[in-house]
Symmetry: C2
Subunit: 405 residues, 2 copies
């Protein structure tokens, strides 16, 4: 069960986006594992992809296609990542796109492929192809929930969020869905996220918007420090609401960006809440750094420490492990006398040692919570950063030791 | 049970070094947890300490004392790290040294303190002091085994090694002991190591020797990526063998350094073999890098990946996780077509995808072994590096979630 999230809320249709979910038996039996998203003619699409050097075949093909045409279809499968598959994998991704394009009557480059699942196995293109007729026949604006379920891998719950905002007095909708729970880290993770709106947004404004949103959301979460070969986040604006076209000079553009950020942040936090084996949702905030980079350096060292994560799992206020992680984060000339460590409102470390008024009972009270803030004040500057992470439990080991078997 | 090591071998006495182990009830009941090592007058001593910014009180005091005097006593306790204890902790470390010095009739600065165990709790100086008379009364050259047991914390087995070599035709002895099993990482870890020899070695030659040895041994192992606040490695040369004094121009100096490296490497590998919850002993070798730094960058990214470590625990040849770790290691302009991945003698990845002759059965055969070599050839230079690590098991989580309770 995810921390502080129990089930997918109702997701609003977005005019101009139709979806369908199919059981193509890519890997799983008895569940949907293939999603087709159809974007209305004239939709604009912006995307951010993984920075992993071994990026998967669909990422390479999606980047190529996106550079050529405005996409009309997104083709997403779970169960197989089509990564580490070399030239045959690229061919598989291209053949899948071509198969859908042929049936839908568009150019193959108007289809963007996305895959998530096991690395290093050939994509079963034949089985995907066999499911495409059914997929196209079942397209509907009301299939967001089915799609959010079909893209899951080790996720224990489908993830999505909808909200509305007003542009020039006209209501527009944003709906997003995401999958991901392990292999989560900055710079995008085993994470696929799709956000669509019926607002109309000019292309470069749309791209700026998603990049900023990803930087402060999907690039600020970590479950286990591992980044994936397949991460992607796509933002689609269909314009079907009839609202005015936004560019970055429009007075409602900041509000639109804030809404996209809100959807991204909520989806990214859902991924952490559903982190593999997670029993805690942990915010790590580092303040008082010289710059953003060193704040992130400390935050990720703490968030990735297996000793900190197992202490969180045990609800053990073993703050020495947090301090040791701060100490090895590699900051030059860190004055430990200036460092403060807080768990929520409880100050644990001050002046290089335990705070005088700290009691184990206070630390234990915070550690017993499902949601915990670890706040580290470096006392040497004005920069701050916040990231979100989970603990390291027996279930994390079980899930990842058993994933392929 | 450590991987490939079952019990402490017989450790040879080193003329000029007497030890004793006592039960001081620092934390544990019914076991020794305090060691005094007495070094004969005229012994030389060199040491390497943790680089963690939050270094523990005993590290600070040991550094101070070492700068002032040739040490006559090492005072080591397990069960409490005296770290994160601020000014009172420094005072505790100094008082412990003074208490031993008073009874032994030397200067307090001739005692080096070492502590390992829980962080953030005051050292029970009174209980340590109460055990000192017994400790001094029981000093013997034949107590290495008892001492190696007394310094253990989460170790499941005592760790030590002895060897002899010839200097100018005279046989000298080296005996080393170490403790450590979690919080192990480059740049020294929760790791204490003491190596003594009855050879005579000039001071700067002794310091060079231990620094080189540590760099290629204790600084090349990782269990969980966490470095400790307390790490120390000490090399003592008593000169009691009567062998010629070695300086760095002596023809036997290289052989002596090689022997110290051999002892360091064996001790450091024992720490990994006894890594918390370890079921595998894994060598990660990265070849063909531009320089040593990028080889280590890739090696540690692979060795620290929770997904790689859980796959190792499951004996699952899930090489995609290794590839994904290589891809996110941050090497600029990595040409994935040039990268090869091997498990022992089995080539898995070549030309950007699965090697044509690779079979899952071959990968499974290697993964079923207790000792595994992961070899990554980057194909872009002549540098190489080797590190040693372990897997991530349920027992790792249990040990670290239950440590304080």
């Amino acid at each position: 069960m995810p921390v502080g999230y129990s089930e997918l809320p109702e997701l609003s249709a977005v005019a101009g986006v139709r979806l369908s979910a199919q059981a193509a038996q890519v890997r799983y039996e008895g569940r949907d594992d293939l999603v087709v998203m159809e974007l209305a003619e004239g939709s604009r699409c912006a995307a951010v992809f993984t920075r992993n050097a071994f990026c998967a075949a669909p990422v390479i093909v999606a980047r190529e296609h996106l550079a050529q045409h405005a996409p009309r279809y997104l083709l997403i499968n779970s169960g197989n990542a089509n990564a580490g598959t070399g030239a045959p994998g690229l061919d598989d991704a291209r053949r899948s796109c071509a198969a859908l394009a042929k049936r839908a009557g568009c150019d193959a480059a108007q289809v963007l492929p996305f895959s998530t699942g096991v690395i290093g196995e050939r994509l079963p293109v034949q089985r995907i192809e066999s499911a495409l007729d059914g997929a196209l026949a079942n397209l509907s604006e009301n299939n967001w929930s089915a799609a959010a379920h079909a893209i899951m891998t080790t996720d224990t719950v489908a993830k999505g969020v909808s909200l509305t905002l007003s542009i020039d007095g006209q209501t527009v909708t944003l709906t997003g869905m995401a999958k991901g729970s392990g292999m989560i880290r900055p710079d995008m993770a085993t994470m696929l996220a799709y956000i669509a709106t019926d607002a109309a947004v000019e292309s470069s404004a749309l791209q700026n918007c998603i990049q900023q949103a990803v930087e402060q959301s999907f690039n600020r979460i970590t479950v286990d420090g591992d980044t994936s070969t397949n991460d992607a986040c796509v933002l689609v604006a269909t314009g079907a609401s009839g609202a005015a076209v936004l560019d970055d000079a429009h007075p409602d553009y900041p509000a639109f960006c804030a809404a996209v950020s809100e959807v991204s942040t909520r989806l990214s936090q859902l991924i952490v809440r559903d982190g593999e084996g997670a029993t805690k949702f942990v915010t790590v905030r580092v303040e008082g750094g010289h710059d953003s980079a060193e704040c992130l350096q400390v935050a990720y060292t703490v968030a990735h420490s297996p000793l900190v994560k197992t202490a969180l799992f045990a609800s053990d206020p073993n703050w020495g492990r947090i301090l040791a992680a701060v100490g090895r984060a590699g900051l030059s000339q860190l004055d430990i006398e200036q460092v403060e460590l807080w768990l929520d409102d409880v100050c644990i470390v001050r002046d290089g040692g335990v705070a005088q008024d700290y009691t184990e009972a206070d630390g234990q009270r915070v550690m017993n919570q499902d949601e915990i803030l670890i706040r580290i004040a470096l006392g040497r500057g004005a920069a701050s950063e916040t990231i979100w992470t989970s603990d390291l439990s027996h279930d994390y080991v079980s899930i990842n030791a058993d994933y392929r078997s």
